[in-house]
């Protein structure tokens, strides 16, 4: 569902066969290639386009090292999405496989900031061999600030091999002075473009074959002041006259605005039928023979010719507009081809303006009629936008609304909200109120550009219209659903989640099942809102729906986004195994789609997997996945919390490997990403990660500075930062304060089911108690943490706490008597695994020395911990030894295979192994199989 790209806008105008050579201007254009920007700034009719296109064909295109891209801009390119689309499309003519991902990302309802897209484009351009010349014609038609800013950004970061040429009638609002000052600008302006006397002579005598005296040439040059279009008109006027000298004298002595004077002359000289053609087709932006035939109602036209009785050579033309267009082209009557196939043409702008005005003044009644014909032809050929342009010119707003309604949804989906807004706002308010669908559409546009206040009145207008009973049930349901969804979004923007959820539920009730696209978006928003409120079940339910709807409607961005949120929830609840499984399933499911259409947020599934693997201390795999996540996801999409988190985890990884400098760089990158985040909920103060790093580097002073600053403000509090504060306080010796925070966080996490945080809090509490010399409490807290953590394989949460934690774990192994609390169920093997993961660890036990299979001995201390395999586990182990596979064991014990897998995991863990063969070997060593 891509924006259709008009190839005629990308077409480099072909030079005319006979042109006056202008070598010094060509020289200046060549010279300009050494700089960043060439600006050709002069009013209409000075031959800008002719000069540049001629130069491209003669010089630039000749060298195979140069590639040229061209965009003929028009008013519609004031929509930033459209502007960028044409920019990329033009560059693709020079380099075919450029920017494909960009198209996908750009043409979405809320494309990322333009700088992100341009940065990616710039990087791609920088990688190209050879030079690329990008020419933008008619830049004066752009008055949209966002587009100017985009171009300024592009110019500020121009890769060395990209050269920009801007053709315009007025100096654009770009930092030209800056470029001039740095010698980065090459300019051709009015004085440069005026025809010199020599050039005038060459044009009039050689190109136009007029054979004028030097005096006549000089007179014309003086009167026209070297203005190209003036000279062209003068030449045309002279071509048709025998009394050239008289004409020139009269012309010279007259003060009349020369274009007016000469156009009148040239126009009067044309046969009637040509005049009619010119006037009537002047309303068209572009001309093709079929379109002209339709506008002129060619049947009538033919009749008119035969009734004129063949007084001019052209009266014999009975064929339609094609011959006419060719005649105009041959006679230099200000028509220029827009493609190689002589299918499309346009008039020179100045000429068209004059013709249009003349038409309006002489045959005003014809104008709406002509536009109607053009509109009908375009509509019949599926060019809705052009049909609309002509319809609006007739003030037939009802018809315009009819044309607009069906195409707005896909356009918004492609990021062309601005265009849609302009069209709807061109309609009278009274009409809009009668069109609920358009009200809703405009409301969506306002939702997308954050003009929340304007939404409610539109919704009320829509509802009033729907209440009149003029619309069928299906339409009413659909539009009421949209209205409810919009109210939901508005409520979110006003920071009122409960209200938002209510509206969203209403929306889901109204919206038809078939509207899967919107249903996917609404349920996704519901899910995220529930998640943020800690309402896990509803969140999971709605996110799963969102995924399903997303897949069904091809909205993979939502589908994957839903997966990621679901995975995050699992991690928050400490369900790491399930989360990892979900990551793998998502990758398996969505990776194949990546070939056709890049999926920017797939990368973050890898990030989540990386986070989990990091926790499990599988650092190599973790690093791979985190890097993959950043590679797939970053740069071209809006900075999301996941990109930041990916960088944070990579930083921790480097820290764990002792690479503190690398860790520092990554944290700085993460901070940078955080700065650009737009979703304020996720944008938390990241300086605590810096504080963590300083702590790791034993650099307490900056960490304390952060801590004091954080404590002094009441806003911007976040649990993650609170935990960091607790750490810093603990390191500083403020144990009581630290404990307060930890208990509070721990309790909140426990009651909310956020096991991930609960474990972290318990771990730190243990350290805090130990610091306060309260060993029993310390060990109790640690034991609780271990029992929660073991089934899910947590490692780094403990190991990242360093030597104090190692000491505490060792202590725990040696004092089993304190572990009477039934909640503390963990295995000694687990503790040993953790200890082995510390950097300077020396193993206390050696497998081969274990005598009693039910005991794990600490050689140094000779104490024992009992953590036997339970009855069921022994059963499974025996069946395993008998050579049965999991399904067979399951059948044998009348249990589900997943239960057997669960027992196996426990067995492995208790025996300190990873696989079946090892388990059996260990069992044999420990003499377990009697």
């Amino acid at each position: 569902m891509e924006t259709p790209v008009l190839q005629t806008k990308l077409y480099i105008p072909q030079p005319r066969p006979e042109l006056v050579p202008r070598p010094n201007l060509i020289e200046r254009l060549n010279d300009g290639l050494h700089r960043k920007l060439t600006l050709i700034s002069a009013p209409a009719g000075f031959g800008k386009t002719t000069l540049v296109s001629n130069w491209i064909y003669e010089t630039a295109n000749r060298s195979s090292a140069n590639r040229v891209a061209w965009v003929s801009l028009d008013e519609a390119d004031n929509d930033p999405t459209r502007f960028l689309t044409y920019l990329i499309a033009a560059l693709q003519t020079a380099q075919p496989d450029m920017g494909k991902t960009l198209f996908t990302v750009l043409q979405s309802p809320q494309p990322p900031p333009i700088e992100h897209l341009l940065t990616d484009l710039i990087n791609q351009l920088a990688a190209l061999p050879g030079r690329v010349i990008l020419a933008l014609d008619d830049y004066h038609l752009i008055d949209n600030r966002a587009v100017h800013l985009a171009l300024t950004f592009l110019l500020g970061h121009l890769p060395p091999r990209l050269h920009l040429i801007i053709l315009t009638r007025s100096d654009p609002p770009l930092p030209l002075a800056r470029f001039r000052g740095r010698g980065e600008l090459s300019e051709l302006r009015e004085p440069d473009l005026r025809f010199t006397l020599d050039e005038t002579k060459a044009f009039l005598n050689q190109v136009m074959g007029l054979d004028l005296t030097p005096k006549a040439v000089a007179t014309l040059e003086r009167r026209t002041e070297g203005w190209a279009v003036g000279l062209q008109l003068a030449a045309l006027a002279l071509q048709g006259r025998a009394d050239k000298a008289d004409f020139i004298a009269a012309f010279a002595g007259d003060h009349r605005y020369i274009i007016d004077y000469l156009t009148d002359e040239v126009f009067e000289q044309q046969p009637r039928v040509v005049q009619t053609f010119l006037l009537q087709t002047s309303i068209l932006e572009r001309l093709s023979s079929a379109l002209c035939d339709a506008v002129l109602e060619i049947e009538d036209w033919k009749l008119k010719i035969s009734s004129e009785g063949g007084q001019s050579p052209l009266a014999n033309i009975q064929s339609p507009s094609q011959k006419m267009l060719e005649y105009l082209a041959q006679n230099n009557l200000f028509i220029t081809p827009l493609d190689d196939r002589r299918q499309w043409y346009r008039y020179h702008h100045l000429f068209a303006d004059l013709l249009r005005y003349r038409l309006k003044q002489t045959y005003p009644a014809q104008v709406p009629e002509l536009h109607r014909h053009a509109a009908a032809w375009y509509a019949a050929h599926d060019s809705i936008e052009e049909a609309l342009h002509h319809t609006l010119a007739t003030d037939d707003f009802n018809r315009a609304a009819d044309l607009i309604e069906p195409i707005t949804s896909p356009m918004i989906g492609r990021g062309e909200a601005k265009t849609v807004q302009d069209w709807i706002e061109a309609l009278p308010e009274t009409l809009l109120k009668e069109r609920p669908r358009l009200c809703i559409t405009l409301a969506w546009v306002f939702n997308l550009n954050n003009s929340g206040a304007a939404i409610e009145p539109l919704l009320q207008d829509a509802e009033r219209a729907l209440d009149t009973g003029r619309y069928d049930e299906a339409t009413v349901a659909e539009l009421r659903g949209h209205a409810a969804a919009l109210r939901g979004y508005t409520a979110l923007q006003q920071n009122n989640p409960p209200q938002a959820l209510q509206h969203m539920a209403e929306a889901m009730a109204w919206l038809p099942e078939e509207d899967m696209y919107l249903r996917s978006i609404v349920s996704f928003t519901q899910g995220v809102t529930f998640k943020r409120g800690g309402i896990w079940e509803s969140a999971a339910e709605t996110l799963k729906q969102a995924e399903a709807y997303g897949r069904a409607s091809g909205n993979l961005s939502i589908a994957i986004g839903s997966c990621i949120h679901l995975i995050e929830m699992l991690i928050t609840q400490g369900k790491l195994q399930q989360a990892a499984k979900s990551c793998q399933e998502a990758i398996e499911l969505y990776l194949p789609f990546q070939q056709e259409n890049p999926l920017p947020n797939l990368g973050f599934v890898y990030t989540k997997l990386g986070e989990i693997l990091y926790e499990w201390n599988d650092l190599e795999a973790a690093g791979e996945n985190l890097e993959q996540g950043l590679a797939l996801g970053s740069r071209i999409i809006a900075a999301w919390s996941w990109e930041r988190d990916g960088l944070v985890y990579l930083s921790r990884l480097r820290q764990a490997l002792g690479e503190l400098e690398a860790a520092q760089t990554l944290v700085e990158q993460a901070l940078n990403v955080n700065e650009h985040m737009q979703d304020l909920f996720d944008k938390i103060d990241m300086t605590f990660e810096q504080a963590r790093l300083r702590l790791a580097q034993q650099n307490l002073a900056p960490a304390m500075r952060w801590a004091r600053q954080y404590q002094s403000v009441s806003e911007g509090r976040h649990e993650h930062a609170d935990m960091m504060l607790a750490r810093v306080l603990l390191a500083h010796g403020d144990v009581d304060q630290s404990q307060k925070i930890l208990k509070s966080v721990g309790n909140a996490a426990e009651s909310a089911g956020r096991m991930n945080r609960q474990i972290e809090a318990l771990v730190l509490q243990a350290l805090a108690y130990q610091a306060a010399s309260d060993s029993p409490q310390a060990l109790a807290a640690l034991a609780q943490a271990l029992s929660l953590a073991e089934p899910e394989g947590y490692v780094r949460t403990f190991v990242d706490e360093g030597p104090p934690m190692a000491a505490l774990l060792t202590k725990l192994l040696s004092q089993p008597d304190h572990l009477e609390d039934k909640r503390s169920l963990f295995s000694a093997n687990y503790v040993n695994q953790l200890l082995a993961a510390f950097p300077d660890f020396e193993p206390l036990t050696h497998k081969s020395k274990i005598q009693n299979p039910r005991l794990v001995l600490s050689e140094a201390e000779g104490a024992k911990i009992i953590e036997p395999l339970n009855e069921r586990e022994m059963e499974v182990l025996h069946l395993l030894a008998a050579g049965l596979k999991t399904p067979e064991i399951a059948a044998e014990l009348v249990l589900a295979p997943s239960t057997i897998k669960w027992y196996l995991r426990n067995i492995y863990s208790k025996l300190g192994v990873h696989r079946r063969s090892e388990a059996l070997a260990q069992a044999k060593t420990l003499d377990l199989l009697k």
């Binding site: 003060h255 274009i259 007016d260």
Partner: protein, 83 residues
């Protein structure tokens, strides 16, 4: 002594302007230029004068001059009580 009142008109209100361009422009162009009065002057220039609705309209007029390739020589605002 008559005070010049032009400066006390708020900037979004209509004002009288007098624009002078090089060359003679036919009065039939009046409609093109938002119905300003077009007067050809003996010195080879033309004046366009009349009420301009607001700033946006003024800049629109200037762009129209640009697009026809006319040379702008002078732009003056006139007090309301002068035609």
């Amino acid at each position: 002594m008559r005070l010049n009142h032009t400066s006390s008109i708020p900037s979004d209100q209509p004002r009288h302007y007098r624009i002078t361009i090089q060359g003679h422009l036919h009065p039939r162009w009046s409609e093109w230029f938002e119905n300003l009065t077009i007067t050809q002057q003996p010195d080879g220039t033309t004046t366009l004068s009349g009420l301009v609705v607001d700033r946006a309209a003024l800049y629109g007029l200037i762009i129209k001059l640009r697009d026809l390739g006319l040379t702008l020589l002078a732009l003056q605002s006139q007090s309301a009580d002068r035609g």
